[in-house]
């Protein structure tokens, strides 16, 4: 497997990452010294019971939150030393987010939702639309570009959200329980889409899930318990 090649630079590196919330007696350590290295092209599923720290890991990976101690290197850059704006730029240029609740803008058409990240890049209207259409094609929704989220099914909404995450050609796609609000059939569609994107476009995917069935699509499984990595193993992905 290419990801085990030692000469290839690590995309993401966590070393002794600690995250504490609160102060004094109410202090709570969500991460207690987490270590892992993720290489380009991996499809990682992060599992664990609630309260195990998997959401905190996700927020930290997404540069929405910073570690209290330890190092987080993204392509060799120390994220913990970046300020708010620098982290925002990192998200803008390298990361794509998919949420459990889809988080699309209401009363806004699918194509406008997908265009949104490009608007922040100051891209021209024509280029924006071309890129947004291409992303919608990737998720198979080119016919639905003028529909607003209210007119789309849950599965379709999640695919619009994936298109929005993909439109900027991110290095990493962060998916937080992407199938949490969907039925089994829709969930499988979404998982197949994600694994296809991982295979065909070589996009690194980090996904939090609590369903083993969904985690089976990944080629690596990291299991969290009590703020620590309990198990970290590669697996043959289901397809």
């Amino acid at each position: 497997m290419s990801s085990t090649n030692a000469t290839e630079p690590a995309l993401i590196e966590f070393s002794e990452v600690i995250k504490t919330y609160g102060k004094g007696t109410s202090e709570f350590q969500a991460l207690k010294g987490v270590n892992f290295v993720i290489h380009e092209g991996e499809f990682v599923a992060i599992m664990g019971p609630s309260g195990s720290g998997k959401s905190t890991v996700m927020n930290t990976l997404g540069c929405l939150d910073t570690p209290t101690a330890g190092h987080y290197l993204f392509q060799g850059v120390h994220v913990e030393s970046l300020n708010r704006d620098q982290r925002a730029l990192l998200r803008r240029n390298y990361l794509g987010f998919v949420f459990q609740g889809f988080n699309l803008l209401a009363r806004t058409t699918a194509i406008e939702n997908v265009e949104l990240p490009l608007l922040y890049r100051g891209m021209k209207r024509h280029e924006r639309q071309t890129a947004a259409r291409k992303a919608l094609q990737l998720v198979g929704l080119e016919e639905w570009e003028n529909h607003s989220p209210g007119e789309l099914s849950g599965g379709q909404q999640q695919r619009v959200a994936i298109a929005r995450a993909l439109v900027t050609n991110p290095k990493v796609l962060l998916a937080d329980e992407p199938t949490g609000n969907l039925d089994t059939a829709r969930s499988q569609e979404i998982m197949e889409l994600l694994s296809r994107l991982n295979r065909d476009l070589n996009i690194t995917i980090l996904m939090v899930t609590h369903e083993a069935e969904m985690a089976a699509y990944a080629n690596r499984l990291i299991h969290f318990v009590d703020g620590l990595v309990e198990q970290d193993a590669y697996q043959e992905p289901k397809s």
Binding site: N59, L64, A88, L89, N103, L105, R107, T108, Y120
Partner: protein, 402 residues
């Protein structure tokens, strides 16, 4: 980046069209009210000025006692005499007419009709100083003036009330103990700027009034017409000096009479309407501020309501200042758009309002510009606080917000 924020703001306004219109309503009403009030106020001022200048713009009025208006006390001041008027006519340059007047209130009777009115005793110069012209008949003759004959010239209202607009020349009106013959009828002048009926008047030789009605030799007012293009101030000073001398006032005594210039009346009246305009404008400005608070209110609610959306934008990579700009520009676009709609509304309201009130339409572009700039400023001031709240949100909390 600002252009981007502008694009985002326009999208946002389109997305919530109804709410946006309601938000703008306060600003629309505020701007429209300010501009309409000021425009109509300016029109009213112009109308008053025009009315006064029709009355004769180089007219001086000399009265015993100080100043007109509330608190006037002329009872202690000595009246003028006909000799004073003659002295002014002979001693002051650049004068074209001098009309001493004495007046009395009477009930005029003709046949079965009677009518309460004011009689003014004066000379033929009076018609010139008041811009009166004759519809019928003639002025007083020298003999009538000198010997105080019972003859009179009547205004349109008298003709209507006593004679039913029928021929009055040669008829005799009964005034208490004596009768007087109508020798002339004046052209109608309509209402004065103070709202009184200028045509409700009977004019007689001053000696007749003094002898038969007031019973003394007093002259209550002297009206003086100054040649056009002459500075009334110079004439005013000359008259004051002459009268002070005739009334034996020493240098440290105040004048016990006043000379009023129509220019001065114009200034007083336009000053009054201007103050009214400013007051109305100020009240309207308050509504503009209330409109601004409405914008802040909606923007604050909108920030809370859109917390999750702000979280999404931040996750996607929006910078803090981009979120700030988006909300700020949204507020500014809303308030400026409200300002523009308000201006359009105000211009049409002023157009119809001025037609209705019969005043000229005078649009003060400075006020229009000011109202627009102010409405945009309202957006900046009242939009900043909510925008800053939005920009300071923590993305994780914002995303979790329900």
């Amino acid at each position: 980046m600002i252009w981007n924020a502008f694009l985002l703001a326009i999208r946002e306004i389109r997305r919530n069209l109804m709410r946006s219109i309601l938000t703008m309503l306060g600003i629309i009403i505020g701007v429209a009210a300010v501009i309409t009030m000021v425009t109509l106020g300016n029109g009213a001022t112009a109308k008053v000025t025009a009315e006064i200048s029709s009355l004769g713009s180089n007219l001086l009025m000399v009265r015993p006692g100080q100043r007109m208006g509330p608190g006037r006390d002329s009872s202690g001041a000595k009246s003028f005499s006909l000799e004073d008027a003659e002295a002014i006519r002979n001693g002051v340059a650049s004068i074209v007419a001098v009309a001493p007047t004495a007046s009395a209130s009477v009930t005029a009777v003709f046949g079965n009709d009677n009518w309460s009115t004011t009689i003014t005793g004066t000379n033929n110069d009076y018609f010139q100083t008041g811009n009166w012209s004759f519809a019928e008949g003639r002025q007083f003759s020298e003999t009538e003036l000198k010997s105080g004959k019972p003859v009179c010239v009547i205004g349109k209202t008298i003709s209507k009330e006593l004679f039913n607009n029928e021929d009055a020349l040669g008829e005799k009106i009964r005034l208490g103990s004596f009768s007087c013959e109508v020798v002339g009828l004046l052209q109608s002048k309509g209402q004065s700027m103070m709202g009184s009926d200028q045509d409700d008047t009977i004019i007689m030789p001053i000696k007749t009034v003094q002898r038969r009605l007031t019973g003394n030799q007093d002259v209550r007012m002297i009206r003086i017409s100054v040649k056009p293009d002459i500075d009334t101030d110079v004439v005013n000073r000359a008259i004051t000096m002459l009268l002070r001398d005739r009334r034996h006032l020493s240098d440290n005594e105040k004048s016990d009479f006043s000379v009023m210039d129509t220019q001065e009346i114009t200034n007083t009246l336009t000053g009054t309407t201007r103050v009214m305009t400013m007051l109305l404008g100020a009240v309207a400005a308050v509504s503009l501020i209330v409109g601004g608070i409405g914008i802040m209110n909606i923007m604050l609610v909108s920030v809370t309501e859109r917390t999750r959306e702000i979280g999404i934008r931040m996750a996607i990579g929006a910078l803090e200042r981009e979120v700030l700009w988006q909300f700020l520009v949204e507020a500014i676009v809303l308030s400026s758009l409200g300002g523009i709609i308000g201006i359009i509304l105000a211009l049409s309201a002023s157009y119809f309002g001025s037609m209705l009130m019969g005043v000229p339409l005078i649009i003060d572009y400075a006020i229009v510009t000011l109202a627009f700039v102010f409405s945009a400023m309202v957006g900046v001031v009242f939009g900043y606080f909510p925008a800053r709240n939005a920009a300071r949100l923590n993305p994780i909390d914002a995303l979790r917000h329900e």
